[in-house]
């Protein structure tokens, strides 16, 4: 991974119970970002923030519903404001759950249909490469990225699902027959209507080097760093 150009600032938010924040930080920094870890009680993001990542983990012990309590952390108001202004926000696993609970992404994550925690590599299909989170991918490309969750069953009712499919907000799907959690329509990752907030259950930060079994996660995080860098250039 050789990256050139200015280093965009892409903070990683740390909630009590986050546990993938360091992996996300390491991956983003290897991809050319500067990624300070920001404690959830901070009320503002660094002024130079070009994108934000909400990492995986078990914020607040997954009490009540996954992400339901973390969404009220002080930093989440800043994240919501940042997103409302068009800022790029990526939620991974628990971060995805927090974004749905906060109403920044559609649908919700429910306990896996099997009721078992799943932890394995899964094949994914890229539905849309025209988002800031998938620009390094191609349509229909198959990625191998691990999942590790007990509550990853993405759900939307029929009406919402039809609306999201029509508007093309499903960006990543589990490959046919490889759905690990019972998510409707094999949804693994969704974007908001403005294409600037994205959440996914698989962990791209755990797949950024062939030594880890796959480097496909770097395509997702690298796309984000590219987009963050572009937003820096646009701001100058």
């Amino acid at each position: 991974m050789t990256e050139t150009g200015p280093r965009p600032t892409v903070p990683v938010i740390v909630f009590p119970g986050s546990n993938d924040d360091r992996d996300a930080q390491l991956a983003l920094e290897r991809l050319g970002a500067a990624s300070p870890r920001i404690w959830h009680t901070d009320e503002a993001l660094p002024a130079e923030t070009a994108a934000v990542v909400l990492p995986g983990g078990f914020s607040y012990g997954d009490y009540l519903r996954c992400g339901a309590i973390a969404r009220f952390s002080p930093v989440m108001r800043a994240v919501a404001d940042f997103a409302a202004g068009g800022g790029l926000v990526l939620g991974i696993c628990n971060g995805f759950q927090i974004l749905t609970e906060a109403g920044l992404l559609p649908g919700t994550l429910r306990p896996n249909e099997s009721l078992s925690f799943v932890c394995r590599d899964v094949p994914l299909t890229v539905e849309r490469p025209d988002t800031p989170f998938t620009s390094r991918c191609t349509t229909g490309q198959e990625l191998t990225i691990p999942v590790k969750h007990g509550d990853g069953c993405w759900f939307a009712d029929d009406e919402l699902l039809a609306q999201l499919e029509t508007s093309g907000q499903v960006v990543l799907r589990y490959a046919a027959g490889a759905n690990p959690n019972g998510a409707v329509d094999d949804v693994a990752g969704v974007v908001n209507a403005d294409d600037n907030v994205f959440g996914l259950m698989p962990h791209p930060e755990h797949a950024v080097d062939p030594l880890l079994g796959s480097a496909d996660g770097a395509l997702i995080l690298g796309s984000l760093v590219d987009a963050a860098r572009l937003s820096l250039a646009a701001a100058v």
Binding site: R65, L115, F155
Partner: protein, 80 residues
């Protein structure tokens, strides 16, 4: 005033936990139909005014205690 909030998976929403409980009850020999699993939250409120308590509890349910996409709720206020 004390209150209890019952949170249930909405009808039609797949409830794997309920299904597991249902199947286990059948294995124990109970003849049952469907079983579904929800949550119960006991709350102690500062107010003694029932209308005010109800209004507060509804807000709690909408803001935090339930996810309206998948859950419904029922509020039980302690009898005066």
């Amino acid at each position: 005033m004390k209150a209890t909030v019952l949170v249930r998976p909405k009808p039609g929403i797949l409830d794997p936990q309920g299904q597991a409980v249902e199947s286990s009850l059948r294995h124990l020999g109970f003849e049952i139909g469907e079983a579904r699993v929800g949550k119960l939250v006991d709350v102690e409120l500062a107010t003694e005014d029932r209308a005010q308590a109800l209004a507060q509890l509804q807000q709690m349910c909408e803001q935090l205690l339930t996810n309206p996409l998948i859950e419904s709720y029922a509020i039980e206020l302690e009898q005066a």
